[in-house]
Symmetry: C2
Subunit: 355 residues, 2 copies
């Protein structure tokens, strides 16, 4: 990893603020050698720095006086929180002082900052949130997981083009298979959105494999799965909820007798390996694809490990020049530049889309 990569961290973002963001960032800097700009309330940042070794880490602090609330309207954050750690961190990327930004703050606000501070890559109507999900075989990309609640068919195509680059450059999958999340494998199955997107994707330069049913997401056979941001967000949160519900049900049963408690104790290393394998913290955050800059949004409840992984991910994005390939991928598909010409108005409405 080259030593000259610089990443801005929204130190106040997320449910836990500097307490999590600072140790998470320090670990990433130590592991990858990136330089950090810690953006937020300086006293709070210093307090956390005092609690963790950091002599070997290159960083600077940019003091800010405001914080974007987790439940605040994206438009309010944009208009009224000019000196929030989130806005300032995004501005550092626009000004070329940082190569990328990582935030565990309000994801709707982060999208708005991305759209209005960094701006969209030419040819992209709607930036989208990509999620890297663990499956039986290997991690895959699900896109969009919440940026665009209502989509047009060509949005889904652009999501596919952008996520294909992510899968190729960041997950190192040579020729990523791209599919549409749908309710049947055959071409005619789906809703009107996915059926039209199917037709467009068939004609794109992607390695398009058709529809993917919900039950096949976790087999890991398809590397990139596209859907609108409503379906993707439901899918992501449902997986999260089901995972913890199952874990809780299993724990309840395992605690019921002294024998099962003993058995669990003996098998503990296996349970721990399993937990690590499915821990979202190991898979980083959700990159916003389609922006003039690298931005990664982490879960509000992220722990330090998740922040570390997200920063490592951002560094790989920068190092591998993922955004350059993304521009290339979009331009190789001429039918899309056609759509993007008429898509400007809809993109501006995205901010109010429901996140």
């Amino acid at each position: 990893m080259p030593k000259d990569i610089c990443l801005a961290v929204d130190a106040m973002g997320g449910d836990f603020g500097p307490e999590i963001n600072i140790p998470g960032s320090l670990a990433a800097a130590r592991e990858t050698g990136v330089r950090l700009i810690l953006v937020g309330d300086e006293p709070s940042i210093r307090k956390e720095l005092d609690r963790h070794a950091h002599a070997d880490v290159r960083f600077e602090i940019v003091h800010t006086t405001q914080v974007a609330g987790m439940a605040e309207k994206p438009s309010d954050v944009l208009r009224r929180k000019k000196d929030s750690s989130m806005q300032v961190a995004f501005r550092l990327v626009r000004e070329g002082r940082a190569h990328g930004v990582v935030t565990a703050g309000n994801s709707g606000a982060a999208l708005a900052c991305g759209m209005f501070i960094l701006g969209r890559i030419s040819g992209v109507d709607r930036p989208a949130l990509a999620s890297i999900m663990p499956t039986l075989k290997k991690p895959i990309v699900l896109i969009d997981v919440g940026a665009n609640a209502d989509c047009k068919p060509y949005n889904l195509v652009q999501f596919g083009l952008m996520a294909e680059v992510l899968a190729r450059c960041v997950l190192d999958i040579p020729s990523p298979k791209v599919g549409i999340l749908s309710i049947g494998e055959e071409e005619g199955k789906g809703n009107s959105l996915t059926k039209d997107a199917f037709t467009l994707l068939k004609g794109s330069s992607l390695n398009f494999v058709g529809n993917v049913e919900g039950r096949d997401v976790f087999t890991g056979e398809t590397d990139v799965i596209v859907c609108d941001g409503f379906v993707g967000n439901v899918a992501l949160k449902l997986s999260e909820g089901l995972g913890s519900a199952l874990a809780s049900m299993l724990k309840t049963e395992l605690k019921k007798s002294i024998w099962s408690r003993l058995g669990t104790l003996i098998a503990l290393p296996a349970f721990k390996r399993f937990a690590k394998k499915i821990d979202y913290a190991e898979y980083g955050g959700a990159p916003i694809l389609g922006l003039n800059g690298i931005a990664i949004v982490c879960h509000g409840k992220s722990n330090a490990r998740a922040i570390t992984t997200a920063l490592q991910q951002a560094a790989i994005f920068v190092e591998k020049k993922a955004n350059d390939y993304l521009v290339e991928g979009l331009h190789a598909n001429t039918e899309l530049s056609l759509f993007s010409r008429t898509g400007k108005a809809s993109a501006l409405k995205q901010e109010a889309s429901g996140l």
Copy 2:
């Protein structure tokens, strides 16, 4: 359970046909005292009957010569398979010879048979597939899980009204809480469909609790969760896929060392209780709500236990006169009869909706 309930079974339906349907039906008849009409190829049915005790069960066989293929187009099944076990079983309900029908066959074809043989309850634009799902607290109803890929806001309201009756009459929940599956809890969050449905549901007679996020489905706090058939089908199949992926990952880890194998062996009863708790076979099939008659569709891969549960469920539907309450519930919400007047054309198109 009164002894005069008669249920028609599509003996040829599903991936395994009579091999599963016959023992499953016999067990249900024995447990509930219902009378069976086994519909299908008589020699195949007799062969299965020979393999299972059935002297204590009241049944008759209705011989048919055709089978609806699992991948066959619903319209083809309707037009070309007049003597299929599925169509004949639905006709027995229409003719009043059976009170309800259970099939593990092609769910799209079952919906089409329901729509065109039984017909819709007055006031229902689109019948919907309801799924009874296990959660941390208790089973809940998710509706629609696949009948209508593209929906209008008032369809979601009708789904809520119908599923509320299911939750009240069949799951014995006194005043079921009804929510919309969405991507944020606040009223303004969601896509254009769910936002409009939110407004309509607020004005209905239901105990409406607002939006439910994907991660809160499995807490069991909300008794009925409405969504369009695309989102519901993705959610259902994703849950199924994630459940088996997690089980498979955990098994792999538990098998890796002699110690974890030993631990698992000791804790085996706990694992078995857990498996039973989340086994779909314990939760029956998916009732098609909104038809002039009781129809329950089972998973194509159903085992005998799932068929038994579905038949028990059908018997409860009949016994508790769930359909009468459903008609009442729909008519108590006058704004819906308004919509249904203009909804005829759309309902007729449902058959081609993607299942």
